[in-house]
Symmetry: none
Subunit: 232 residues, 2 copies
């Protein structure tokens, strides 16, 4: 049986033409890869993928106008098998987190070696996630921090705990976008009573209007429950 492997079709996305050239040359040194195009904006990247369905997109995420993460998200919604390897100049935990969140399969820095880039491409194409150890640590710093803050916010002094059950009920309807009349109808009480409750809620949450009350509620775990699962 003859060895006949279709070349991997790659799209490069970067708004800097020199970068595109450099990376392209680098990739073409490897057998098995074809750079079938390049794009310098998120929109053109999306259009290119729609037309030519590359196997892999190597992309910078710092693009003019719309950023690369949005492009990844849009393309992923198309339901294709496109893999994304982010090639970024930044190692912010926040950026890494958001890239992985929207569905990137790998993230490497422009300062990393070309061997690492090629290795990352291979891993990603094999269905794995490629995130160098340094970046993995940064990702988890951010990931775990977000949960620490969440549980810290729930602790401390949560003003929501001072609400009576009726007030909680009213606040719940506020967070659904109801006005006084809507709440009154749903709770079978008068509009003035609702106003009284809402005013008391404002006092307790130390806010001035319903929008702030709703924001306080959402930011402080109102309505959130811990889903406890049994472990194996």
């Amino acid at each position: 049986m003859r060895e006949f492997k279709r070349k991997t079709r790659v799209l490069l996305v970067d708004d800097n033409n020199d970068h595109v050239k450099g990376i392209k040359e680098l990739i073409l040194l490897e057998t098995g890869y074809d750079v079938i195009g390049s794009a310098s904006s998120a929109n053109s990247a999306v259009n290119f993928v729609k037309k030519y369905n590359p196997d892999l997109v190597v992309m910078d995420i710092n693009l003019p106008e719309k950023d690369g993460l949005q492009a990844i998200q849009e393309i992923n919604r198309l339901g294709l098998e496109t893999k994304f390897l982010v090639l970024s100049g930044y190692d912010d935990p926040d950026l890494i987190y958001r890239a992985m969140k929207v569905g990137a399969k790998g993230y490497i820095l422009k300062t990393m070696s070309s061997a690492q880039l090629v290795h990352g491409m291979e891993e990603v194409l094999n269905g794995k996630v490629y995130l160098p150890a340094v970046l993995t640590s940064k990702f988890f710093d951010y990931f775990q921090q977000s949960f620490r803050e969440e549980s810290a916010a729930n602790d401390e002094e949560n003003l929501l705990s001072y609400l009576t059950s009726r007030e909680e009920e009213v606040l719940g309807l506020l967070t659904k976008g109801n006005n006084y009349k809507g709440i009154a109808n749903q709770l079978f009480i008068s509009e003035t009573t609702v106003k009284t409750h809402v005013n008391n809620i404002f006092q307790k949450l130390q806010v001035n209007d319903r929008t702030q009350a709703v924001l306080y509620a959402l930011n402080n775990g109102f309505g959130k429950k811990i889903k406890a699962k049994m472990s194996a």
Copy 2:
């Protein structure tokens, strides 16, 4: 200056006594480690940490009654510097995800080599996250899946995309709880102009008031966009 490095104090948590013995012997083969105790339940692990404040906890998460993840969470709330390396028999993406979520710094399988265990311990103690490539992939499978489901619901036609950049700016301030006056002051425009923008926002988002607009924004990914940074 004399080389004098304090030994790393390790707590082992596993409900199987044979496992504890085996791991303990393994660790003690390494210089620099002291196994200062072992626990066979989540509660006794928590109590042990409170009393003896180990540097590292190597733990199985499959424990009777309360599971190891809860123990990690409880201990992390104490505000100590305790590092956790999960040593599990299972490689479920869900388990890995939850372990990392509650603050584990590493996760390795019992089937992995002792060299890998020791390496993981070192990495974790150095403040890094240790997650073997196979498990990293599993973690991200789960992680990304959870967002795919979320964005599938939010997607379809996102009305936020019809907003002009100025309207986005105004909506951003609305989601901070500002009233007309506050927005006008911050954008250096008149209050009536703000009202015009807000009205246009309502039209485009098909809502009736600011609370609904804010809720729509928050539920449809507003603000989850990249804060554009200058590229190198």
